[in-house]
Symmetry: C2
Subunit: 327 residues, 2 copies
Amino acid sequence: MTVLILTSEEDVTADMVVLRLGEAGVPVVRLDPADLTNGVALSGEYVRGACRGHLSVGGRLVSMNGLRSIWVRRPGNAAVKAAQPSAWLTEESSQALYGMLRATDARWMNHPDAARRARHKPWQLHLAQRTGLAVPATLITTFPQAAREFAERFPDLVVKPVSGAHPQEPPRAVPTSRVAPDADFAAVAFGPTLLQRRVVKQADIRLTVIGDTLLAARKPADPAAHPDDVDVRFAPSVSPWLPADVPPRIAEAVLRYLREAELAYGAFDFAEDADGIWWFLECNQSGQFGFVEMDTGQPIAAAIATWLAMDGHSGHARAEGGRSATC
Amino acid sequence: MTVLILTSEEDVTADMVVLRLGEAGVPVVRLDPADLTNGVALSGEYVRGACRGHLSVGGRLVSMNGLRSIWVRRPGNAAVKAAQPSAWLTEESSQALYGMLRATDARWMNHPDAARRARHKPWQLHLAQRTGLAVPATLITTFPQAAREFAERFPDLVVKPVSGAHPQEPPRAVPTSRVAPDADFAAVAFGPTLLQRRVVKQADIRLTVIGDTLLAARKPADPAAHPDDVDVRFAPSVSPWLPADVPPRIAEAVLRYLREAELAYGAFDFAEDADGIWWFLECNQSGQFGFVEMDTGQPIAAAIATWLAMDGHSGHARAEGGRSATC
């Protein structure tokens, strides 16, 4: 049973996982959908109630029925490196590849549908509430008056994007910023705005969950930092990430979160306040982990390799074709 | 409890359903996501574990907690009609709107995730096989040799796109065509090709399923038609669509198909052969029904209105927030 890794050619994080799988003697196929029809080929046959699919990568043929798991790491868009790329070829190739893979029994980290849903910030906030995580008071609105009333109730606010990175080429991260006390919020009418009570934090927490494995890292806040430096990605760093214990209630809540989200992997960001409470900021289903592994020495890549190598259809991933023995 | 219809301004099919809902006294809100920030506003608040969302359309305020059902009919892209449209505003608005709606208890026709998955032709073929429908022998491949061997086993073939309509502006339907007996299939290497055994058909069947309601229509093939006219959408029409009975085995299979696909609405296309067997061609989760209703007089719009007006969280749609009383 083979592990399929969908990612681009240059991906040192994937390299780390491939190395672990190799050491464990688990067959791995690494494939970039961008290479379809140019080094990568596919075929699926539906005859007399049976379904047989194959992939070919660099001349190596793999049966789709023999896929153990699929890691959607950082795949390129289908067929964009073809000799004559086009929007139509990308659509045809994407539908063919992901349509066939969706019909296999393989376990996914993460399933494309679950991954897509998991990006929605309002859905994240609601799920975090339901699973028992502490969520800072948040408003997403295009009503200036709603924003003003919210700012009266919660005077110390940050603003951040609803959707994540700005979709330019290459995508640009938009920092979380403090809202000035005299903001009038009239511009809220022109686009959805996410306002959130600022957590006065004593540390940032990154909790990486791989199946049932929880690995938390903590980065103490710089006591000398300016209160406007709220975004850990942009603030000057004074301390490395250090391994941290996960409070049992948090462990229970995040496992429930991932189960309900049908995700096998999630990188949770929390802000720890002066009382030690972990406030949920977001769960990134494709969150990077290299920087945490580097600082803490936590075996994240190894945990991913172990999850991918597991037998059976367990875990949080859904196996849609799981009721059939073929494809 | 309100029915929310997501569609563009000019949509006579939606008009028919709105009319029925109005007659039944069911509150309806019709909204085009394209109008976001310009006539349409939204707000969602997440405070102390509770979640409250609102939409405003033309000055009318609707609570998201009070949504009974959501019909994703033909929505425009979010915020494209805003005063200053941009890819970033569309992404922010789409994530905000659909993120909030995903967290409601409303029943969906159809849920965006299920709809997206249901478009994949390889997945459709596999699901049709599993649910007991007759599927004509099909190959989707980029291997010329696989195509040649398939053509030897099944000499009478049609070719059609994997993904549906060509993504030009406006999108262009690509007709299903017969494969010439001397085709050499070398070009298959340049893009996934879907080859299917041609069903020598005595009729086309359109089976529209709305929840548990099945409405079949049949269009007899023109006995004088040229054998190359395989695509009913492009062939000259000699007979209108006529109401037809649904064989019990087919009824059972399509209901299972929609249940497993988590769809509340599906338009199945079959080819009926000389033995009366209905061969599955595809299931379109957003299939048009106006032309069938016009020819047959079948109450498709009324069945949709009835489904949308139903109470409770039954049916095939998934209600992701169904475990919470709010949002």
